[in-house]
């Protein structure tokens, strides 16, 4: 510390200063927003003491304002459903793509990757127009939102699972088949147990990216009952919202961070054994690095 005061701009010091400044800048506004969700007063900038008023008691609080309750319920329901539908489909797709060596394998792998690089607004417009004009037997609401969320979530599952598949290789399965297991048995009793950590972390990651999504949820919403938390934050942010909006955002933060922490713990516990840490890190950061 003394050295720093003597020469704050000495060799790598300025890098440390920039990095700390960046971290403060990137995290402090959010921490302030969380703090004011516990404000005893109506202000979002003057601290008037701690209370749970905006979570529980006030008529406009998360627990008592119907629009906020609905948003919370819709977000949780949609994320849970997306997780349950997208994960099995994605796991099967990952296994199929990793093992399939035929002519269709390359275009299929390509098709799986395109949703990852498509800007969300393009996907939102495309899904909105197809449900408005072609699949009009599905009314806008939870159904369309679920179909949309699963569509972008599948690719994430594939990325997480195939990292582990590559690490496992085919030896275990072939050994099982040499010992007399049918392909189905070797899949069920050898491959799936080996994939278990990747599958469980996929559940958690899909939950997190679904509950976090804004664009697709907004384009495919149908009326008040399918407004999710991010859509509610969007529509409420500009019209002098009470701190209950901060409280709703804080609950969303809690849900996302819990899901990601669970995924990280699973991957940490099992990931090291087979060296699939890289794809796990990529999954946690939502990108392929």
């Amino acid at each position: 510390m003394k050295a720093w005061f003597a020469n704050p701009w000495g060799k790598p010091r300025w890098l440390r200063v920039i990095t700390i400044a960046y971290l403060v800048w990137s995290l402090l506004p959010v921490l302030i927003a969380v703090q004011f969700s516990f404000n005893a007063g109506r202000s979002r900038s003057t601290w008037q003491g701690f209370s749970l008023r905006w979570y529980l008691d006030d008529p406009a609080s998360v627990a008592r304002d119907d629009s906020l309750i609905l948003a919370l319920q819709q977000s949780l329901r949609l994320a849970a459903l997306t997780m349950l539908v997208a994960t099995p489909i994605g796991v099967a797709l990952a296994i199929g793509l990793a093992r399939w060596r035929g002519r269709g394998a390359r275009p299929a792998g390509f098709l799986m990757l395109v949703p990852l690089v498509t800007p969300e607004i393009v996907m939102g417009v495309a899904l909105f127009l197809v449900f408005a004009n072609l699949y009009d037997f599905v009314p806008f609401g939870t159904g369309t939102q679920l179909l949309g969320h699963v569509t972008f979530a599948i690719s994430f599952v594939v990325i997480i699972v195939r990292g582990r598949l590559f690490a496992i290789g085919r030896d275990y399965e072939e050994a099982a088949m040499d010992l007399g297991a049918s392909p189905w048995e070797s899949l069920r009793r050898v491959l799936l147990p080996l994939l278990a950590p990747a599958i469980f972390s996929s559940f958690a990651i899909v939950f997190a990216i679904s509950i976090d999504d804004f664009v697709i949820s907004q384009f495919l919403a149908g009326g008040a009952s399918s407004i999710t938390i991010p859509v509610r934050l969007y529509s409420g942010a500009r019209v002098a919202p009470p701190p209950s909006l901060n409280a709703l955002a804080s609950l969303l933060l809690l849900a996302t961070l819990s899901a990601v922490t669970i995924a990280a713990l699973i991957l940490r516990k099992f990931g090291r054994q087979e060296g699939s840490g890289d794809s796990a890190a990529a999954a946690l950061t939502r990108i392929e690095i």
């Binding site: 506004p29 959010v30 607004i121 197809v130 392909p183």
Partner: protein, 307 residues
């Protein structure tokens, strides 16, 4: 039991040809129906007509009867109309915000990848945290700070200036929002490429007499070019389609981006759905190079992992 084993083996060989495509089938059918078909729907709406009574776009599914007049309107607007100014503004915003991301993000990624020895996990958690804080919540946090009686105005008053209407349509506030929103997505791929770099090359540079500055400029920087490029592409793609950042932090037509225009065509004025679809396609074509670069990058990584 031998017959059983034999049966299993012939079954296994017989099944190999179709069993893996069958695994992939549900996912591929899903993506065909809910990713490829929707794209066709965008083209069909862009190439369709307007229902004169309900003022709703009517898609034209048959390519032989496509009517490109929506494209004509959108392209005429871009080359010499209001849309052109919006497109130019979008490009300027994205370029400035990306440049700021590189300037701020490089030292941060470099420091955590190279200089941190103790508690590296903690620093990394700090870099990762914004990924999982909802984007809208991060913008809401700034709406709170920049509001009329927010902390920014109090600070401005405390140092003797007049408070400002920060959320009333300022370019610099929208660009700040874009940088704030997307910077974490730039830092991470760059961090990864700096972290992976072969340290022996740096030692060799130093052994051969390069100063720290020289070894940075002639070894580290050229070797991290790929990471910078990947990070910039990764943040440019969502920025080009962003509409919520300008809407939340300004809401004024002065800061409207292409994404806002699409949002308005599609979600607010349903009679202009055809133009919205055409503009979406124009946007996609314009950023196709970025998408392709990113796609090929992922495929390269996949191939390496597979071998």
């Amino acid at each position: 039991m031998p017959t059983n084993v034999q049966a299993a083996e012939t079954q296994a060989v017989g099944q190999r040809a179709w069993v893996w495509p069958a695994f992939a089938a549900p996912g591929l059918i899903w993506l065909a129906l809910l990713f490829l078909v929707p794209f066709y729907a965008v083209i069909a709406v862009a190439m369709g007509d307007l229902d004169p009574i309900f003022l709703k776009p009517v898609p034209e599914w048959n390519p032989l009867q496509w009517d490109p007049s929506s494209f004509g309107r959108v392209l005429a607007g871009i080359f010499g109309g209001q849309l052109g100014r919006i497109a130019a503004r979008t490009i300027v915003y994205v370029a400035v915000a990306s440049l700021l991301c590189v300037i701020i993000g490089y030292p941060v990624a470099y420091f955590v990848a190279r200089r941190v020895q103790k508690h590296k996990g903690l620093w990394l958690t700090g870099l990762l945290a914004p990924f999982w804080i909802n984007y809208l919540m991060r913008m809401l946090a700034w709406v709170n700070l920049l509001g009329p009686d927010g902390w920014v105005n109090r600070f401005v008053e405390a140092i003797g200036f007049a408070p400002q209407d920060w959320l009333g349509g300022r370019h610099e506030v929208v660009i700040l929002g874009l940088v704030y929103g997307y910077l974490p997505f730039f830092i991470l791929p760059l961090y990864a490429s700096l972290d992976r770099m072969d340290k022996q090359v740096l030692e060799a540079a130093r052994d051969l007499g390069a100063s720290p500055v020289q070894s940075f400029l002639r070894v580290t920087l050229p070797m991290s070019k790929q990471g910078i490029l990947a990070g910039v592409v990764l943040i440019m793609l969502p920025m080009f389609g962003d509409y919520y950042t300008p809407n939340l932090l300004s809401g004024s037509p002065r800061t409207r981006m292409i994404g806002n225009q699409i949002d308005q065509f599609i979600n607010q004025t349903s009679s202009q759905g055809g133009d919205g679809a055409a503009l979406t396609i124009v946007l996609m074509v314009a950023i196709a190079v970025l998408m392709l670069y990113y796609l090929l990058n992922i495929q390269k990584v996949t191939k390496e992992a597979r071998e």
